[in-house]
Symmetry: C2
């Protein structure tokens, strides 16, 4: 194998910068497989330089560009302050320049920017590149649900897996021990078409493995044999750190869905805690949340989702437990009930108008359930939506438990 | 049906009194099925009367017998103070008198007293009675593991199910909403022997459904047809309250095992939190704990355990999440790491020498794993034991994650 993989990160928030740190640590450690430098696309902006002698000696005391700061003091001063980034993680404000020549693209940006960003890439990436999406959430439009890994696949024409887990970014950045799950089921290098015919230039993505509500029709370019195989072993070398334990599974959809749906349940857990109901009640909400995640996967991703992703993987139960105990969705929902106001109100007063992932996911999933005529199969998801809309309050939770116990084992 | 079920509770700690409260509320509500009075066996002792006018008007200001206090002011002043008990929950200090004529026995006492208590019953119960064990823990002796439901079955010769869930007793007593799981798979009233022969007087317990390490050879008396059927519907009527949502499953062993093994994992979660590692790490420990619970069930209860009990029921994941966030095992382990002392030391200094459920279960399970030659299949359980014994510290957790990820999917 004569070529090394060029790895890039699209996005540089706290989670994007943390993943960039991990990737750059590993490309240096496995320089036989990867080019050492990892480019990170940064949406550039002016940042203040903190009142710190070392930083001001290098950057001055006037506002500087975020990319300049990252490449000079190797810190993301705005989104991940205090964490030393590897010197081989290179901030780049030019999206197309970042992706040029990259064979592995890691996507890690807020879901509301992903569609536009993919358009702006304008096919400047290698046609045979492979992607990993760390983006939480699902895209709902016209009664269909699309995972961001699928959207990337369709818009860029590259195979894309997903990464998700119990990974509160600042804790990972501080190198506190945790786990994550990568879903990756890309075609192997020695891929043959299902009819056994010699490999032609394009590989059909197996439609059975896509979302039932919107199968995609992507054809993939094979990765040239001159590159190291992109398989679970290579992905482990790229993402695992002593403090970041990676498990690779084939269930891309389950990994992506877990990261999206858990935020609905985190809101429910916050409502319960705000009500003062304690750990037993929260545990009931988490348990029912897992059941509805599994059910969601079974109905709309019957061929691709492995329910063990929800019940046994970091991207499932572990991420859910973490999100239902900490994180913005949980806390905001908790405050809303404590103060007797809506979550919308909390977004305005406490988050400066920033929207929570959980509220947009809940509304998107509700719209989808309604169009698909499946609301009654998801009493908890619908309940969270109804609370957000002011149609009910957390006091009606007993009815949800009741409805859930009447839904037959799936 | 001419006879009503007589229901009794054996044990009167905070959880026993709480379950007694629930049962007495329901026997009154369903007086067509149950005798209204519920007898509760209380290990009698002198208790001080709190400085409260209403209580002292009725009880005086000298110490009184606990049974007298319960039957007079309808509060368990020692173990569940401040909670009003139903007047039809009757404390009885005489064990044999309590069980006499009872057709449903609910066991809810600390596991270290169960064996002796069963001996003291001296077969004064009805031979065809049915039992429900709310006792957490497993009994390990000579390389075999016995669930308390099995021990009750063997010692009393009655069929016994199990009840467990995310049920921190004071929260249930305060009527905060929660769920529980009952495992019950008793023979139906119209039971026929497997060879199709007319029912003889004794029903063989299906050995396949018992522990692999120690199958039991109990024969059961059929419940007379004059009683209402003891089935999942009847158990729901007996245990469900608007604040206590009951799910009945057939997997008695899984329900009992969940309640026992979760305490090992609660200790691990406490160690992690004491170390200051945060939610991501705790979620990893919980996730691995579920995997080891499932594996334990698969190896030693292959016919009886349904792994969904661990991943989907209140007795599994929900109870585990609760125990890993609150409760004495979690808190004591957390304090031990924070103070740099052993858990044994915490038991001495903070618990007045009282032993935690988690430490005894961890040691019992370790002894069992060792005798069965299966230690390497349970890296987390063994790790908790090693920490308790001072052989390692929580700092070695990364090795546990590593070992776990190398154990092939079960």
């Amino acid at each position: 194998m004569s070529q090394k993989h060029k790895v890039v990160v699209i996005g540089s928030g706290n989670w994007g910068s943390t993943i960039g740190k991990i990737l750059a640590e590993n490309t240096r450690e496995h320089s036989e497989l990867f080019e050492e430098n990892v480019s990170m696309w940064v949406f550039d902006e002016d940042v203040d330089v903190p009142d710190d002698k070392t930083l001001r000696d290098q950057l001055g005391d006037k506002p500087v560009k975020l990319t300049h700061a990252i490449n000079t003091v190797h810190q993301n001063l705005k989104y991940l302050p205090g964490i030393k980034l590897p010197v081989n993680l290179i901030a780049n404000p030019d999206l197309q320049d970042t992706v040029k020549g990259a064979s592995i693209l890691v996507f890690n940006l807020p879901h509301q920017f992903i569609s536009k960003t993919l358009d702006q890439i304008d096919h400047q990436h290698l046609p045979y590149a492979r992607g990993i999406s760390c983006i939480k959430g699902v895209d709902v439009a016209d009664g269909t649900v699309t995972l961001y890994s699928e959207m990337i696949m369709e818009k860029l024409g590259i195979y894309c897996g997903s990464l998700s887990g119990a990974n509160i970014a600042p804790e990972v950045a501080a190198e506190n021990l945790c786990e994550t799950t990568i879903g990756y089921d890309g075609p192997p290098m020695d891929y043959k078409q299902p009819d056994g015919s010699p490999q032609d230039n394009l590989i059909k993505v197996d439609e059975q493995r896509q979302s039932k509500s919107k199968p995609s029709h992507v054809k993939l370019h094979p990765v040239p044999q001159t590159y190291p195989h992109v398989d679970s072993g290579l992905l482990k070398k790229l993402f695992s750190r002593p403090y970041f334990n990676v498990n690779v599974v084939r269930d891309v959809s389950g990994v992506a869905l877990g990261g999206a749906l858990k935020n609905i349940i985190a809101l429910a857990a916050g409502f319960v805690t705000g009500k003062g109901w304690g750990e037993n009640t929260k545990a009931a909400v988490i348990r029912i949340g897992v059941l509805e995640m599994v059910r969601f996967g079974r109905i709309w991703f019957p061929q691709s989702v492995d329910e063990r992703t929800f019940t046994e993987e970091s991207a499932g139960i572990a991420d859910l437990v973490t999100s239902a105990s900490a994180g913005r969705n949980f806390r905001s929902a908790c405050h809303a009930v404590e103060k007797g106001v809506s979550v919308d109100e909390i977004e305005k007063t406490e988050l400066g108008g920033q929207k929570l992932q959980g509220t947009s996911t809940t509304r998107a999933v509700y719209e989808f359930l309604e169009k698909q005529g499946q609301r009654e199969q998801f009493p908890l998801f619908v309940f969270v939506y109804d609370i957000l809309e002011g149609r009910t309050t957390i006091d009606s939770l007993p009815e949800v438990l009741d409805k859930e116990s009447k839904i037959k084992a799936y």
